[in-house]
């Protein structure tokens, strides 16, 4: 891969005079596109300028200006910085923006999310239903004028806590009285969710006419929400023709807690522990993504030693994530517990390190703006060295010899197609799943963040895109992470661990920032808009699990139902992050 260009030299304004204007607001970048010409401009961005990967789509509610904005972040799979383009529409219902689903299929769920949470209607979207909130939910919760149940104040800290913090429980004060909006004429006793009809209706398009031979009925199967293979509460509604999947619709949102809304209520620092809870296996990388995004906004440097610590903890996190992945994959395939517990032993040792440096095993809350919270003490550093040099390498080999050649596993995985490179890019799939199709797209290389450009490592790539490759690439990545760790441990300098003074409230200048990292599951992006106040105006997470699931339908159609569990496991999704 060629070295990514450091600056962006695309001039959309010159290409589309009168249609595209540069975003001139202080702190903002990118281009504002006229709504009616969006598809024309987006086609040019994809085909002429080569931005083939549209990673993030989200909306912003500029309530005081009475505007809604849709923000698109497009990247090239060959690497380099991205292109941000936006559409602004008046905030008058119906808020309508053309859908880009015919250009990038990966916008499917993200547009549905924007419709669900912000009420932006994407014209031309074939299946614009709610995705995270339940059917029959009234209103669009990410709008600034929407207030939730137990609403107290717009922003934290709440005034009732100090100096007269006489404790009360929210539900005592507010038992389903205020802030709870029912639709007019709503009777909970008689209500039948209309979403189900829409959901099953959306599957109807897969019905094809039977030509000759025996005609069979299609069967609709609901897998989940409480199915052990879904690793949480995820439901897949499938239409089957015999054993073959002919239609599939993922249903999610069972674990939805509106992380974005909580994030807009929090101060910048208060968001840090909340990001731990997204992908609860990788709180370190979640922290990393959020920290670099806010650092971009604040324009502050990161202490040198902290940069190395960040790399060390995120690579350790990647290793333990892939170990858990392999363990749970084998569980799903029926090799109950032995491989998964072997993998969990190594994970346990890594979590011990996390606990010693951050205080918690999983909810680490370890990163701060400008550095990290605590230095790695010498004895823990020694433990990391021992683990990297003496143990993890050997244990990866052991896991490899336990599983990789196992004939039962090989026959379950080898040659079962998952997705090809072209479709993976079209569906915005990132992470190991994309790399297993032969696209060497790793943000650590393609658009380096932190100090990843200083390390010598290979981007793990496999070329067949079948299940076996998806499994093997995780083992490759563990080995590459160990390579990075070896270098980082050797090079780590002494020094301060934070470039800033500890402050419980940070000053963030107005502007926007999209920060992204290569989390173990794919591209984890944060889009933060600041208006100079202590709380972010817009805080959006682009979770890799959620976007990768967009491709699930494409992946599964035509395969046997028996392979569904393996295909789903390969996406390595975590519902905490998917549903947010």
């Amino acid at each position: 891969m060629t070295a990514p260009a450091s600056t962006l030299t695309i001039d959309l304004v010159a290409r589309f005079p009168g249609i595209v204007t540069a975003d001139a607001r202080p702190g903002f970048t990118g281009f504002i596109v006229e709504k009616d010409s969006l598809i024309q401009v987006a086609t040019a961005i994809r085909d002429e300028f080569g931005f083939d990967l549209l990673t993030a789509v989200t909306g912003v509610d500029y309530f005081p200006e009475n505007k809604m904005e849709v923000v698109y972040h497009a990247y090239r799979t060959t690497g380099g910085p991205g292109l941000t383009f936006k559409v602004q529409v008046p905030r008058v219902d119906p808020v309508e923006v053309p859908s880009l689903i015919n250009l990038w299929s990966g916008v499917d769920f993200q547009e549905r999310e924007a419709w669900d949470l912000l009420g932006i209607r994407f014209t031309g979207h074939p299946d614009l239903r709610r995705i995270l909130m339940w059917e029959g939910f009234e209103g669009h919760p990410m709008r600034k004028d929407w207030k939730e149940g137990f609403y107290e104040e717009d922003t934290k800290p709440f005034k009732s806590r100090w100096p007269e913090g006489n404790f009360y429980m929210a539900e005592d004060k507010n038992p389903f009285k205020d802030n709870l909006t029912f639709p007019t004429n709503f009777d909970p006793e008689k209500w039948i969710p209309e979403g189900d009809a829409l959901l099953y209706g959306s599957l109807a398009r897969y019905t094809v006419k039977q030509e000759g031979g025996m005609s069979t009925d299609r069967i609709v199967i609901n897998m989940g929400p409480h199915h052990p293979s879904t690793h949480g509460v995820f439901r897949a509604v499938m239409t089957l023709d015999g054993e073959t999947i002919v239609g599939l619709k993922p249903v999610m949102g069972y674990l939805h807690r509106n992380h974005d809304k909580i994030g807009e209520r929090n101060t910048y620092l208060q968001n840090m522990p909340f990001t731990d809870r997204l992908d609860y296996f990788n709180s370190m990388t979640n922290n990393f993504g959020y920290a670099i995004t806010v650092e971009k906004l604040m324009k502050i440097p990161v202490a040198e030693r902290a940069e190395y610590i960040r790399v060390i903890v995120s690579e350790l996190s990647r290793i333990q994530n892939h170990l858990v992945f392999i363990g749970t994959l084998l569980n799903d395939l029926g090799a109950m517990y032995t491989p998964s517990l072997y993998a969990f032993e190594e994970r346990e040792l890594i979590l011990d390190i996390f606990e010693a440096i951050s205080g918690a095993r999983m909810m680490c809350n370890y990163f701060r703006f400008g550095g990290v919270v605590r230095d790695i003490p010498d004895d823990v550093m020694q433990k990391i060295k021992d683990l990297v040099h003496d143990r993890l390498q050997a244990k990866t080999d052991e896991l490899d010899s336990l599983l990789t050649e196992n004939e039962v596993l090989v026959s379950r995985l080898k040659g079962v197609p998952m997705i090809n490179a072209e479709d993976a890019i079209r569906y915005s799939v990132t992470g190991p799943v994309l790399r297993a199709t032969g696209v060497p797209y790793d943000i650590r290389r393609a658009d380096p963040y932190g100090i990843y450009d200083r390390f010598d490592f290979d981007v793990a790539v496999r070329h067949n895109g079948d299940l076996m490759d998806n499994y093997l690439i995780r083992i490759d990545e563990i080995r590459q992470s160990l390579r990075i760790l070896e270098q980082a441990i050797k090079q780590i300098p002494q020094g301060p661990i934070n470039s800033q003074k500890p402050a419980y409230q940070v000053r963030v200048p107005a502007g926007e920032a999209y920060g992204r990292i290569e989390s173990p599951k794919g591209e984890l992006g944060y889009y933060v808009v600041s208006n100079g106040k202590p709380n972010p105006w817009r805080y959006h997470v682009r979770p890799p699990s959620f976007v990768n699931v967009t491709a699930l339908e494409k992946i599964c159609i035509g395969t046997k139902i028996a392979d569904f569990v393996a295909l789903l496991a390969m996406l390595d999704m975590v519902m905490g992050e998917c549903d947010r």
């Binding site: 800290p157 709440f158 840090m272 040792l349 011990d352 010899s401 004939e407």
Partner: protein, 213 residues
């Protein structure tokens, strides 16, 4: 040969199975106890661990590192006459930084002077809401609120901790976090020394007063 991969895998599990017993025997021959001892538990969570990995909770408990954090508590100094000196000044920083807003502090004013009393009248932590992030302890300028190690607080009712439940002595804090305590103590001493030196320099002409601790 078909089946070789399975056999190779089975060898791994067989080795693992045996290692538990060889380890047990080697500990026995060295006259050491592998189970129910700190040494044994420490060994089982080190890079040299072989064979069985599990720690039999609740008979055995993992050794918590010093930084382990769980539900905050308030630190008080115990004077010789039994009087508790609460370090908290009810400045409210912990309540402001708390991400789930689970800290509630009542600050009172002195009825005669009208100025705030530097000690909380009431202090609540809703432990059901607390997310154990540790911000309160991190940003407290008086080292008055610290994270605990006690993780066995499951109960049948709501856990709203008041002052009585939250207050723990400084010696307890010292026992769970010796290194942190030593560091903070050194910082405090250094600050006091600097203050004393400043006072000394200010009153250079006057006879130097002994540094008050």
């Amino acid at each position: 040969m078909y089946g070789l991969g399975i056999l190779k895998g089975l060898k791994v599990t067989w080795d693992r199975f045996w290692e538990t017993y060889t380890e047990d025997i080697s500990w026995l021959l060295r006259g050491k106890k592998r189970y129910n001892t700190d040494e044994g538990i420490r060994h089982r969570s080190s890079k040299n661990q072989k064979g069985i990995f599990t720690v039999q909770y609740p008979e055995e408990k993992l050794i918590l590192p010093e930084e382990a954090r769980y539900i905050p508590f308030l630190v008080f100094n115990e004077h010789e006459d039994g009087k508790k000196e609460i370090l908290c000044t009810s400045c409210g920083i912990c309540a402001k930084v708390c991400p789930p807003q689970c800290i509630w502090i009542v600050r009172s004013n002195d009825p005669t002077t009208g100025r705030p009393i530097p000690e909380p009248t009431e202090f609540f932590i809703d432990a059901d809401i607390c997310m154990n992030c540790g911000f309160c302890a991190e940003y407290c300028p008086f080292d008055a609120i610290k994270m605990d190690h006690d993780f066995e607080i499951a109960s049948y009712s709501r856990n709203v901790f008041n002052m009585e439940k939250l207050l723990k002595s400084e010696s307890y804090y010292k026992s769970i976090r010796p290194e942190n305590f030593a560091r903070e103590e050194a910082d405090r001493k250094a600050k006091e020394a600097a203050k004393a030196a400043k006072a000394q320099a200010a009153s250079a002409a006057a006879p130097a007063a002994p540094a008050a601790s």
